[in-house]
């Protein structure tokens, strides 16, 4: 069947073997020289203590110094203090405004904006979502989260657009910013929390700023991308008419980048929501805080009551801002007058609500789902956790997964000599990417050792590896199925759409209900979170395989299995590598958050550091998370950079 693979000459073996062999040889030579030296100097499996630097003490001192000087040092008085005050005031103002408009007014405004931007169906959806938030008794937390989001999104958009403008217009800025933004996008949300807390302390300002830092990069990236991607000939034509640089920017470059700008807005909003919820750990309040408190006491019912509004908010925000980016021929351009009518109608509803005295959500309309849900969970705990005939039980599964997969994997990693871990990282990164990515990966891994968190990091790594393996097996299988059958694809699409918009945090709720707390539920949440992206990228990659190659394979009489193995999979290799990379990045983000539900390791150290005010421990863990994220991204990074998934 060699002839069938002929149209795919750059598939796996042919080209890969030679340079791969050369790279491995070079690495082996380097290892042969360095390893004996390393072993005689610093033997043993774990990272040698001689090579660690104790940073927790200076960090602790720095953090103490900041705490002591927060109210007196000019830097805090005249800069951070003002930033903090402005943020608090802004969030407070938006929050009070939302409350003053009342639930009817907010719902009406939301629905009318959705109607103007995205049509009737989404307007109805928006109204239903807001009402559901009220029904679940979550109106006030929802408004708190919304207020924080409004401020954070505005700040992110301004910061991101300015950075993007700079990078879009200046090549030098682009060269400086691009690697920074690229790296920021692969780091887990948790890594951002501690540095902000160090400066601002726990509270709303820290939460808002962490959210801005997390949510601004996509805006910046997409702004730059849009400005740079503008049709050269259009820009030249515009220049040929004698425009000034300002006119070019305002009348051509920015309008031409409209699609990217709106996509950036969409991504920024989704990232902001995701982070605003996670930032409950550092005092964000609102819905995230309800989930966080409920999870801490394993109160699944309460967590779900707060989790559902988060999901609704996410879906509505995503669909409405997503629709804004699409061209809708026909009704796209209506006069601003209709906007005016819409706003007037919303104002009327708000005033009517005020006059009728229904600002607060009426108590009688609340639906308490926490109790029934908890009863259901109790029933599940009693009947499904263990001892179900034949299949076992969910808790049994979790226990088995921990015993048979996670523990051996962790012990195995920790048993491996430290230098061999570095060697493996180097080999993988180099084989998949370039010597640069390999170098970064090895340095990042070594930095983890130097920071003195080798063992907990390997623990986190073992969870990541297990989750990635499961994700890839299920994801590739589903992706292949979706690529081969339109029916499967159609059935999957709405599910993937919803799953891809949900913030990381809410995935913890169902897994705690099913599996209790521990490392296995953290892994399960990570798998569920990363799956949609992997399935989607795989299916798209397989579907985009050159039809001519497929046709020639078919004409040679290849069975559909042969077509898949010999044509589609090799040709879709870049997409599959991208799926792996995305899978790894997304899994890491959730495995870290899993520290909140007993995942242990680095995530737990961050939570512990925050809870105990031991910022040094948390900061070291945060730095290790950054390094781990860098390492995992670089190891799986194919030579071309990827487009970024939704949120």
């Amino acid at each position: 069947m060699a002839t069938v693979t002929a149209p795919a000459p750059k598939a796996a073996p042919g080209v890969l073997t030679r340079p791969a062999a050369r790279k491995l040889l070079a690495l082996a030579v380097a290892a042969a020289i360095l390893v004996p030296f390393a072993v005689t100097q610093w033997g043993g499996a774990t990272w040698p203590s001689a090579l660690t630097v104790d940073v927790s003490e200076p960090l602790g001192r720095a953090s103490d110094w900041i705490i002591d000087n927060r109210d007196s040092h000019p830097l805090f008085l005249y800069f951070f203090g003002h930033v903090s005050n402005v943020v608090v005031l802004a969030v407070r103002a938006v929050y009070l405004a939302l409350l003053a408009v009342g639930w009817a007014g907010v719902t009406a405004i939301g629905a009318l904006v959705a109607w103007r931007v995205a049509g009737v169906r989404l307007a109805l959806g928006t109204a239903v979502a807001f009402l559901a938030c009220g029904l679940l008794g979550m109106w006030v937390p929802t408004m708190q989260t919304l207020a924080l989001m409004v401020v954070a999104v505005l700040a992110s958009v301004v910061v991101g657009a300015l950075l993007g403008l700079a990078a879009g217009l200046s090549d030098r800025m682009d060269r400086v910013l691009r690697p920074v933004l690229d790296t920021m996008q692969v780091l887990p949300a948790f890594a951002y929390l501690l540095p902000v807390v160090l400066v601002f302390g726990i509270g709303v300002p820290a939460a808002v700023l962490a959210t801005v830092v997390y949510a601004a990069p996509p805006m910046a990236r997409l702004t730059a991308l849009g400005l740079r991607g503008a049709d050269k000939e259009v820009l030249e034509a515009v220049e040929s008419l004698g425009t000034t640089a300002r006119q070019r920017l305002l009348t051509a470059r920015i309008p031409l980048a409209r699609k990217e700008l709106l996509l950036g807005l969409n991504q920024t909003i989704m990232m902001a929501l995701s982070m605003a919820v996670i930032a409950s750990v550092i005092g964000a309040g609102g819905l995230g805080d309800r989930v966080y408190q409920a999870l801490a006491s394993v109160d699944v019912g309460a967590a779900l009551a707060a989790g559902i509004p988060i999901v609704l908010l996410a879906v509505v925000l995503d669909r409405v801002t997503g629709a804004a980016g699409e061209e809708r021929p026909g009704e796209s351009r209506r006069s601003p007058l209709t906007w005016l009518y819409a706003l007037a109608a919303a104002a009327a509803v708000a005033v009517a609500g005020r006059l009728a005295g229904v600002l607060e959500w009426p108590d009688g309309w609340e639906l308490n789902i926490a109790e029934p849900v908890n009863r259901a969970v109790d029933w599940m705990t009693a009947h499904l956790y263990s001892g179900v005939p034949v299949v076992g039980g969910t808790a049994d599964w979790a226990a088995h997964f921990t015993d048979w997969v996670l523990n051996p994997l962790r012990d195995g990693l920790q048993w491996l000599p430290w230098w061999s871990v570095l060697l493996i990282v180097a080999a993988l990164a180099w084989l998949i990417g370039t010597w640069r990515t390999a170098l970064t990966a090895v340095l990042a891994m070594a930095a983890i050792g130097v920071l003195g968190v080798w063992n907990p990091s390997l623990d986190t790594l073992s969870q990541v590896l297990a989750a990635v393996a499961v994700t890839l097996v299920i994801g590739f299988a589903t992706g292949v199925a979706a690529a081969r059958s339109d029916r499967v694809e159609r059935a999957l699409r709405p599910v993937l759409d919803v799953f891809q918009t949900m913030p990381q945090f809410v995935y913890l709720i169902p897994v705690v209900a099913l599996f209790g707390v521990g490392r296995a539920p953290a892994v399960a949440a990570a798998v569920v979170y990363a799956l949609p992206a992997v399935v989607r990228i795989t299916a798209q990659g397989l579907r985009q395989v050159d039809p001519a190659a497929m046709e020639s394979a078919r004409s040679l009489g290849a069975t559909s299995g042969q077509q898949l193995r010999q044509v589609q999979l090799p040709l879709a290799r870049p997409a599959l590598l991208l799926a792996v990379n995305q899978g790894v990045v997304l899994v890491l983000a959730v495995v870290i958050i899993g520290g909140l539900v007993g995942g242990g390791a680095l995530g737990y150290q961050v939570v512990f550091g925050l809870a105990q005010g031991d910022l040094a421990t948390g900061l070291v863990a945060g730095a290790a998370i950054v390094c781990l994220g860098l390492m995992l991204d670089r190891v799986t990074q194919p030579t071309v950079r990827r487009p970024r998934k939704g949120a």
């Binding site: 030249e236 515009v238 008419l241 031409l256």
Partner: protein, 376 residues
Amino acid sequence: MTATNVNGTATERPPVFSVDGLWKVFGPKAGRVPADPELTALTPAELRSRTGCTAAVRDVSFDVRKGEVFVVMGLSGSGKSTLVRCLTRLIEPTAGSIAIDGEDVRAMDKSRLRELRRHRAAMVFQHFGLLPHRTVLDNVAYGLEVQGVGRAERRERAAAVVAKVGLEGLEHRRPGQLSGGQRQRVGLARALAVDPEVLLFDEPFSALDPLIRRDMQEEVVRLHREEGRTMVFITHDLQEALKLGDRIALMRDGRVVQLGTPEEIVGSPADDYVRAFVRDVPREQVLTVRTAMRPAADADEAGTGPAVRPEATVSEAIEAVARAGSAARVMDGGRCLGVVDAGDLLGVVAGTAVPEERPEGAAVLPGEAELPKEAV
């Protein structure tokens, strides 16, 4: 070919653009190339391997006279686009001088240059370069908007130009909702709306279907006849060049290899390259009877037979001769310049009446012509 009879012969009119010794070199330290005689002597390939530079325009000089259609033609990569962009410094020239109405373009500061682009030279692009988020009307009015013309006035003026290029009724469409030909009409209207002194066209019709292309060419001919606007027209299509051009500059590897009227180019190619280029041109449609005529043998010949103008094409004379069955007289005013008979005219068609002798090397050309088209 069209304007000459309106404003007298082209040679007498003052130049609009005057280009002298123009160079554009892309690549590292491009500035040293035009200055160094050793480097300028190299072929493009040698230059690239020696210096890493590409000389897109090499030592080009020409004048574009008021009211003429000046065509620059050449194969892909010969430097036409670069040349025309240098005229308004959309691409910064490396060396040489450019003057518009006697004013040095290379010495202009930013605002003066903007003024030039806003009012004096407007360009039409191969891929249109329209703003997709604006309606047809707003695209056409864009040049005026840039100049700061008020909304009402620019819309009114744009509407008039839209009508002139035959786009009435489509004012409120977006470019995405138009066909290729319609889009290029918008591009043309946008350039016309600012009422420029010179129109620059960079292969404006290459992306269009043959039929639409012919329509558009006729549109340009009509515009030129009606308004007598000066035009610089870039094309790689010889038919188009012959149809539109008063004068044609033929480029190869950045140099102008021949500059002349269509008749000069077809009738007396400067070298083998040009000769190969014009080989398939129907000569009788380009050459005039002035080149084919001979002095009248006697008073009888000078006194009878159908009369043709000296600038009539050979194919027109063939028709006259065939109809009358005798030799035709070439008459300028009341004067008989000479006569053409069937034999003279056939000689033009057959290519045996070429003024110069064919060099030796050219003998292979007819053989080439027998190859099937695909194989060439």
